[in-house]
């Protein structure tokens, strides 16, 4: 099917400039076929250049019916969004095993604050198990009055709650060393996602078992091949923790712990144990592998800090960001995301002059605790080189540090919890690169 052009149309007329590097023009989407057919003969009655679907031509997709209803019982994104996918980090080697590895959310291509379920970042330690929910059980035992086993039907019978929270791997953002210019926001910050989680308050379920007063820690264990475990303070377990069975309106994705996961708002991703099968109450931390050899921060004095639970306030500009290209000088809306594991975002400042001035960005409602907050700031690009960065303040008064300030306290040896201000360099060409 080819587009149809009115008789009076000049098919060689130039198309309007987009002037906005973010979006593909229609012509570029069809670039290959448009180019191949550049010399196509144009009939006086109907046909324009193949692929020319622009006014005054009638686009080809209007000239025949589209695909039928229910052609996809579970819908998928447009094929033109096929590049918006999870992937590994640019320039990083293929992991030793994809069973214990991670994938990154394409933050630079997302809008608002919700991460589509298929784009939520992944971190698995023994692959993604295929769990039959009818045969999944949650065991609660240890320092409780009544050791119990719950089915999924039991858990979904409890009063439910839905809340929007981010999850961030504490290994997110590895800008400790010299910045790698080619990195995108997906590479630097893509171990971050945000969903509406639905489940039952953990406190409700623990009340069924009756937590003994001497219980101070809770071991959470996955039903995956790694049987991954973390120790959680009882204060957190009884505060805002959820046993989540749904995300963004549907049951959890297997990659996010189907059929049941622990959700600890604001805590480092690893503690939010997926495929949750067991909760054991104890008096002391259990000193699991994930809280001793991993997810601990080796400080410059050779001492390691463990139980670094709360994800400190952090922000990143997602447009313009690494790998993108500004199309033309003039107005561009800077946009990004800010978050804090300690509560609400109260302020985001954006600099477009390398830190000389920091005007406030506009925060998009709703602003809720331990959740991404979308910020925006208008910018008139003069066409010259520029350095852009954002800086968040949370409701505790904590201000996101500069890289220099962070490096004064700890360095790459601590590996986790890198939350410094992220700089993007804009070249006169419009090319945007990672400036660390």
């Amino acid at each position: 099917m080819s587009p149809r052009t009115p008789e009076s149309t000049d098919p060689t007329a130039p198309e309007p400039q987009d002037g906005d590097g973010r979006r593909f023009t229609r012509r570029s989407l069809f670039g290959a076929s448009a180019g191949a057919a550049a010399a196509a003969i144009v009939s006086r009655t109907a046909l324009a250049q193949e692929g020319d679907n622009l006014p005054p031509s009638v686009p080809e997709w209007q000239l025949e019916p589209g695909v039928e209803t229910l052609s996809q019982p579970y819908g998928r994104p447009s094929k033109f969004e096929a590049n918006v996918v999870r992937r590994y980090r640019h320039g990083s080697p293929e992991p030793a095993s994809r069973l214990s590895s991670f994938s990154l959310t394409p933050l630079q291509d997302l809008h608002g604050i919700i991460t589509p379920n298929g784009l939520h970042y992944e971190r698995h330690h023994g692959g993604v198990p295929t769990i039959d929910p009818s045969e999944h059980r949650l065991m609660v035992h240890g320092l409780v009055n009544r050791p119990l086993i719950f089915t999924m039907d039991d858990l979904t019978r409890f009063p439910s709650v839905s809340r929007v929270h981010f999850l961030e791997c504490s290994g997110n953002t590895q800008n400790w060393g010299a910045p790698k210019p080619e990195l995108t926001a997906q590479d630097t910050h893509g171990l971050l996602s945000c969903c509406e989680w639905t489940g039952v308050s953990l406190a409700t379920v623990l009340a069924e078992a009756g937590v003994k007063p001497e219980a101070k820690w809770m071991l959470a264990e996955g039903a995956d091949a790694a049987a991954m475990t973390r120790s959680i303070p009882i204060e957190k377990a009884l505060d805002d923790a959820l046993l989540a069975y749904a995300q963004n309106g549907e049951r959890l994705r297997p990659e996010q712990g189907y059929p049941l996961r622990l959700l600890l708002p604001g805590y480092e991703g690893n503690t939010n144990v997926k495929w949750l099968r067991r909760l054991k109450l104890g008096a002391e931390p259990f000193q699991t592998r994930e809280e001793t050899s991993k997810y601990t921060m080796l400080m410059p004095d050779g001492v390691a800090r463990q139980f670094n639970f709360v994800m400190e306030a952090k922000s990143v500009i997602t447009f313009p960001s690494g790998g993108q290209r500004l199309g033309a000088p003039g107005f561009h809306e800077i946009s990004g995301i800010a978050w804090s594991g300690a509560g609400k975002v109260v302020r985001v400042e954006v600099t477009t002059d390398g830190g000389a001035s920091w005007p406030d960005a506009t925060l998009q409602e709703p602003i809720t605790p331990k959740c991404l907050t979308r910020f925006r700031a208008p910018w008139n690009w003069d066409g010259g080189p520029a350095t852009l960065a954002s800086r968040v303040t949370d409701e505790t008064g904590y201000v996101q540090p500069t890289r220099e300030a962070l490096l004064k306290v700890r360095d790459v040896r601590s590996y986790y919890h890198y939350n410094a201000i992220q700089n993007w360099s804009v070249a006169a060409s419009g090319e945007v690169t990672n400036a660390g």
């Binding site: 050791p147 719950f150 000193q287 001793t292 050899s293 601990t296 601590s414």
Partner: protein, 180 residues
């Protein structure tokens, strides 16, 4: 009159049964977890030795199991590649490039036992017997110079091992972590 009172009583009873329940009440969902059910899943081991099973294994037995089931990922002598290095690096934690291994970094031998039992080998987790886990743990600790070559590990001996970096950790909870 009697009839009216009876009706009121029935109405109240109905409200109690079908109305909202107080948050402090229990829902009585779930079933009691039996000792046998708990025993099958209760595989964690704490630093005080709680959870260590009966059984034993020595360095020599561990070496054979390691060669068969671990060496292909962690190297013939725990040197790593492609998976993490298990041996060496003791005393390097102050260096610019510290080498973090079981020997140099892990604070508890119980964690080694717990992790091998629950997660290793990657392609067949929870397949090793308690004797095999004791043996592999003994061999990895021997490679690190932490136990002697004639060591046999069991629930009593494993918990007594003091790892070189046992005192190298501080808890950031409940005090917030490193700032900024």
């Amino acid at each position: 009159m009697l009839v009216r009172i009876a009706r009121v009583s029935i109405a109240i009873a109905t409200i109690v049964v079908s109305g909202p329940i107080c948050a402090a009440e229990r829902y009585d969902f779930g079933l009691p977890a039996t000792p046998a059910q708990i025993a099958g899943w209760n595989i964690d081991v704490s630093p005080d030795g709680a959870g260590l099973p009966a059984g034993h294994g020595d360095v020599k037995q561990g070496e054979a199991i390691y060669a068969a089931k671990c060496a292909s990922c962690h190297g013939a002598h725990g040197e790593g590649k492609p998976m993490p290095r298990l041996v060496g690096g003791i005393g390097t934690l102050h260096d610019k490039k510290p080498e973090k291994t079981v020997g140099s970094y892990w604070p508890y031998a119980t964690t080694l036992f717990d992790y091998v039992r629950r997660s290793m080998p990657l392609n067949a987790p929870q397949s090793l017997t308690p004797d095999e886990v004791y043996g592999v743990s003994a061999y990895v600790l021997f490679l690190n110079g932490i136990v002697a070559q004639d060591t046999t590990l069991n629930a009593e001996t494993l918990v007594k091992i003091k790892m070189p970096n046992r005192d190298g950790f501080v808890s950031a909870y409940p005090t917030p972590g490193a700032k900024p």
